[in-house]
């Protein structure tokens, strides 16, 4: 054999042997066998194959903890309490956990590896979360950047409270090589239980919204996971102050039409403030105005922040927070009990909370699902 070949062949041979040793060791050392996960003090007990992340292990057992980043530890949504001592929190978990959460052994399920029997706590409502197969029945443009998408569930019904959300499973497409999930509030009514309707606004650079706007077609098959969330109408006599913008319309559409259908609207006074930039960004105006004519205690207040002269807008103008403030002071009054319902970006939610607090609404009476 040529002496020139001896060196490279020796290195190649050693590398092969080392790779084999690593593969064999991995098979034995990382084989955790079948482990037990106890959930909520024995309410559920799972026998699972060890070695994977808790988030994926639970999902394989049809227990779906919300997650928006696919288990990369960058969304902080998949929090759960781990009662078993699994050692200190990972550095990847720290940005998402408050000192109180860390003291209470809250972890990110995507960052916890199942290497031993575990006892965990999860919100009970997650037990009723399911994965639904569905097909796209209809896609309708509401504005140039918001689509209304109606999904028909494949032989199943979904039970949910108006205000809750589902996670839409986005398959790999284009340059996106893996599936991701994103949360969207349902705009359909619970009684329409064979269908789910979502309002999706195109976000530049957004994976899920780009897919729904540019790739998804009527007839396509998709998966939905849900329902999730605690947002919904409280059973109180207080006047509701609802505020939304853009696709934040979705939960309020579900809530309002559900109240109309069940007769819950008879006693409750509701003010619904909906903000957009120009008339081109507004939608459902006719439907909601018709609803307010049929329902004397429902007041719909659409407002434009930058109306164009040619649009001849005669409604309210200004930022939705300014309109809200003005109405509380001049029309609604602060003497009656008020409660806030918000759906929008964190910036919008924080701004509305400030306005409501300044007008006497206490923070425990302001409800929202902060998606971001």
């Amino acid at each position: 054999m040529s002496p020139i070949l001896i060196g490279p062949l020796t290195v190649a041979g050693l590398s092969t042997v080392l790779a084999l040793v690593i593969a064999v060791l991995d098979k034995f050392l990382n084989n955790y066998g079948i482990l037990k996960i106890d959930i909520n003090g024995g309410k559920k007990s799972l026998d699972v194959k060890g070695g994977s992340a808790l988030l994926g292990t639970l999902a394989a057992e049809n227990i779906f903890v919300p997650s928006a980043c696919g288990g990369r530890g960058s969304c902080g949504a998949c929090k759960c309490k781990v009662l078993t001592d699994i050692g200190p929190h990972l550095p990847t978990e720290l940005p998402f956990l408050s000192p109180a959460e860390m003291a209470a052994n809250v972890h990110l399920a995507c960052q916890v590896k199942v290497r031993q029997n575990l006892a965990i706590e999860l919100p009970e409502e997650l037990f009723s979360v399911k994965k639904f197969a569905a097909s796209v029945e209809r896609i309708r443009d509401l504005t140039y950047d918001i689509k209304e998408i109606r999904f028909a569930l494949a032989g199943e019904k979904i039970e949910f409270s108006p205000g809750q959300y589902v996670q839409l499973v986005v398959p790999p497409y284009g340059d996106i090589r893996e599936s991701v999930q994103r949360a969207y509030s349902m705009s359909s009514r619970p009684s329409d239980s064979k269908y789910v309707e979502l309002l999706v606004r195109l976000v530049p650079g957004g994976i899920a919204t780009t897919w729904t706007h540019k790739f998804l077609k009527e007839g396509d098959r998709v998966e939905l996971v849900g329902p999730f969330g605690e947002f919904g109408v409280r059973d109180t006599p207080a006047t509701m102050l609802c505020v939304a913008g853009g696709s934040g319309m979705a939960p309020f559409k579900s809530i309002l039409y559900h109240m109309q259908e069940t007769g819950d609207w008879a006693e409750k006074e509701i003010w619904y403030f909906f903000g957009a930039r120009t008339a081109k960004d507004m939608f459902y105006l006719d439907e909601l105005r018709a609803l307010s004519e049929a329902w004397p205690k429902f007041h719909f207040v659409p407002a434009l922040s930058e109306p164009k002269p040619e649009e001849n807008w005669t409604g309210e103008t200004g930022l939705i927070t300014d309109v809200l403030d003005r109405y509380i002071k001049e029309k609604i009054g602060k003497t009656k009990p008020l409660e806030g319902y918000l759906c929008g970006s964190p910036g919008m939610i924080n701004a509305c909370i400030n306005v409501m607090k300044k007008n006497g609404v206490t923070e425990d009476k302001i409800y929202y699902d902060k998606f971001a």
């Binding site: 090589r177 893996e178 530049p204 930039r277 964190p346």
Partner: protein, 167 residues
């Protein structure tokens, strides 16, 4: 160009599916060091300064927050231009935080889009006449001169920056 070890490590973190599903490189197959070197050359040719661009993007992000999730018209701070340039800025949030691929910081997940206010809604094409960026994009631009690879939705293309923000 030979890449430094820190660029090789960053490159691995920038691949799709590591920190984000899309990654930071788009369809670009050039090494990170080459992407940076070529963008530095283009910035210099267009007389763009990385810090000045990062400052302007941060200003636009902050101005866009006033829209509370809706687009808002922002008059450019460039007082030399008459009439002032009108830009339509939309600042939105996503859930969570993203680490810098170079390992020097953690940034709130958000998305800012900037386009000319004169363009009709729905006609803008990302990367051609609309800039899309985040807090992490601003950091990568300022600290690492990294504008992201060609085809990345968050690429800060020098010629688009010059046309939209400095022309």
């Amino acid at each position: 160009m030979k890449n430094a070890p820190k660029e090789l490590r960053a490159h691995d973190m920038m691949l799709p599916g590591v920190l984000t599903a899309q990654g930071f490189l788009g369809m670009d197959e050039r090494p990170v060091g080459d992407i940076i070197a070529e963008d530095e050359t283009e910035f210099a040719e267009l007389k763009l300064d990385f810090d000045a661009v990062a400052d302007k993007l941060a200003y636009l992000r902050d101005s866009g927050e006033a829209g509370l999730g809706e687009p808002v018209t922002v008059r450019d701070i460039d007082a030399m231009r008459d009439p002032p340039r009108a830009l339509l800025v939309q600042t939105g949030d996503a859930r969570g935080m993203l680490p810098c691929p170079y390992g020097d910081g953690l940034y709130h997940k958000n998305g800012v889009s900037v386009r000319s206010a004169d363009m009709p809604p729905g006609t803008c094409v990302e990367g051609e006449d609309m800039l899309v960026f985040s807090d992490l994009s601003i950091h990568l631009l300022r600290e690492h001169h990294f504008c992201q690879g060609r085809g990345s939705p968050f690429r800060l293309d020098a010629s688009l920056i010059a046309k939209l923000l400095f022309s």
